[in-house]
């Protein structure tokens, strides 16, 4: 391109550079520019999974809204280390900018608050998980919990509430036709079969030590596991309704106190689950 045609005009000070040297320097520069463009381009590929948000991740309790959460999470996994039921996992390369960022796969292992104190929030060094949102971050409409959620396991304690101000998801009866209660059926046995590894804390078994779901079989005339196993008070209830066939039936109805922990999704014996937790969803009236 710009050949150095500086015969006698502008080259009095600079020592003469050999053509070979100049060519090498130019090659090195182009190579370096290529490296820069290549690595920056690769790093921006992380946008794809973030923008392609068809299935948002269920984040741990106390997580900031998704964009702020990804910005503030330092990807250290201290939340993973304190969780007594190992509900929290870390994102991989396929999560793009969400690499190393914690999420919960509720169907495999939900957060059952068996730590009582929401330890993951306590462990977070950057405030990506927080008890109290900083003032400059808005609270999405329908994300704030009307009242402090009461933890059933702590109901007898002087302070029975969880320190949680916003929900991190919301349960929904996604497939009512698959729901055993809607079908008028009971349930007996291991909720998720003998191979399921998920754990839960049963206060009547052990106040602090979670046990495997498969070691705690159920016997119900009408299946109501999502209601009885829900760790939060008044978050879900059985309501009667009249089916299309004119028969009185029951179905689980999610209330405004639902925090989105996903225990109902984990214990649901239907396959796939009849009730699911929608990550990052908010409460809508009516």
């Amino acid at each position: 391109m710009s050949a150095p045609d500086t015969n006698d005009k502008a080259a009095p000070k600079r020592p003469p550079v050999s053509l070979e040297k100049a060519r090498k320097a130019r090659r090195k520069f182009i190579r370096s520019a290529g490296l820069t463009a290549g690595v920056i381009g690769l790093s921006l590929l992380g946008y794809i999974p973030v923008l392609d948000a068809r299935a948002p991740r269920l984040r741990p309790p106390g997580a900031l809204d998704e964009a702020d959460f990804l910005a503030s999470c330092i990807k250290c996994g201290q939340c993973v280390q304190v969780c007594p039921v190992s509900a929290i996992r870390l994102g991989d390369l396929t999560d793009g900018f969400g690499i190393g960022v914690p999420y919960i796969d509720a169907r495999e292992q939900a957060c059952d608050f068996s730590c009582d104190a929401v330890q993951c929030i306590l462990a977070c060094p950057t405030g990506a998980l927080t008890y109290t949102k900083p003032d400059f971050l808005p609270v999405r409409h329908g994300a704030a919990l009307a009242q402090a959620p009461v933890l059933k396991a702590k109901a007898q304690d002087p302070e029975p509430t969880l320190n949680l101000k916003e929900r991190f998801g919301l349960a929904r009866l996604a497939r009512p036709e698959a729901c055993l209660a809607v079908q008028g059926r009971g349930f007996s046995g291991q909720a998720r079969g003998p191979a399921f590894k998920g754990r839960m804390r049963y206060v009547e078994v052990d106040r602090w030590q979670p046990i495997a779901l498969r070691d705690h079989p159920y016997e119900r005339e009408l299946c109501d596991l999502c209601v009885t196993e829900c760790p939060i008070e008044n978050a879900i209830a059985m309501e009667s309704f009249t089916g299309a066939d004119g028969v009185a039936r029951f179905r689980p109805v999610v209330g405004e106190q639902c925090v989105g922990c996903g225990v109902c999704e984990m214990v649901c014996p239907a396959e796939p689950a009849a009730i699911v937790v929608d990550a990052q969803a908010v409460w809508k009236e009516g």
Binding site: L35, A67, C76, L90, L93, P125, T126
Partner: protein, 321 residues
């Protein structure tokens, strides 16, 4: 400009310069050194003959690097809670520790700093100001270790002339540092963490492997077949962040021109050979000089030097002792 500024600019990518002024001490040393050519050659051969190449500092460093990274692993696996978290952020017996580059990017992306983040960052800042910033790279970073091992493959292939080392401009790292910082600030995502093999490897060790290891593997392939230690030399902003932090550190590798035969063994093993330009004949301006902020204090040159001209030093302490 002073030598400090020259070294700092050298870290950012500037070419090392010849000294404008050489001290009287060095002038005298050089005259004495070359007075008697025969004696000089004899001394050189003597030093070579009696030099038993050691890996003392390399072994110590590898031991420390492995110990730190395994302490993370066992703290979680055995639940002994000594060093919880990963290299990006952790708690050492309860005290917050936050990696400076990760902290910088979270601060730029999130634009909000909570107390714990500040405490952890400040603690680590002080630690590396004392120990020499880039000491992190060679004594702690797990990618440094795997890259150091695969570098041996690269060098073996170079020796057989199957591959050549394609150098990039050292200033590229400075450009990367600025671009990643701007990107974090503008997009609100800590984009560098998506690629950082330091974070990826640390998390893979502690929480189990994932697809991200594939990226680290590709990087290593690039370094083996295309460009020696490319990530650490030309890309990684963590190294520059720590380099800046450790610029005034008292812990350093220092060079004494008096003992040097200017053979360049040290530059061949060095990750950042430009810091050793001072060992080229005619480049030293003082009798004893630190290598500057880009030096990772890895000690490979200390091990390689047959005459003890390069050694670890704590500035100020050696005068006291």
């Amino acid at each position: 400009m002073g030598r400090f500024a020259d070294l700092f600019l050298g870290m950012l990518g500037a070419e090392p310069k010849k000294p404008e002024k050489v001290s009287e001490d060095v002038r005298r040393i050089m005259i004495v050194k070359y007075e008697d050519k025969e004696r000089y050659i004899k001394e050189k051969l003597h030093a070579r003959a009696h030099h038993h190449p050691s890996h003392v500092w390399r072994n110590r460093r590898w031991a420390v690097l492995l110990a730190v990274n395994l302490l993370f692993v066992v703290s979680f696996w055995l639940d002994i809670q000594i060093l919880e978290g990963a290299l990006t952020a952790s708690r050492f017996v309860g005290f917050h520790m936050v990696d400076l580059n990760s902290a910088l990017h979270v601060m730029l992306a999130h634009k909000h700093i909570i107390v714990n983040l500040f405490i952890g960052t400040f603690t680590v800042f002080l630690l590396w100001v004392m120990l020499g910033g880039r000491t992190f790279c060679s004594w702690v970073c797990p990618y440094h270790l795997v890259a150091e091992l695969t570098e041996k493959i690269h060098l073996a292939l170079v020796k057989r002339k199957w591959v050549t080392d394609h150098e990039f401009h050292r200033g590229t790292r400075t450009v990367f540092w600025a671009l990643f910082a701007v990107m974090s600030f503008v997009t609100g995502y800590t984009i560098f963490e998506t690629l950082s093999p330091t974070g990826i490897l640390s998390r893979a060790l502690i929480y189990g492997p994932g697809l991200a290891l594939g990226w680290v593997f590709l990087l290593l392939l690039f370094e083996v077949f295309w460009s020696r230690r490319a990530w650490c030399r030309y890309i990684c902003p963590i190294g520059l962040t720590y380099g800046v932090v450790g610029a005034i550190s008292p812990l350093r590798v220092s060079y004494r021109v008096e003992h040097c035969f200017h053979e360049g063994d040290c530059r061949k093993v060095c990750l950042v050979p430009h810091v050793l330009d001072v060992t080229i004949k005619g480049r030293a301006s003082e009798a004893s000089m630190g290598l500057g902020p880009d030096c990772t204090r890895c000690g490979l040159c200390v091990d390689a030097c047959p005459t003890g001209a390069l050694r670890y030093e704590v500035k100020g302490l050696s005068q006291l002792l």
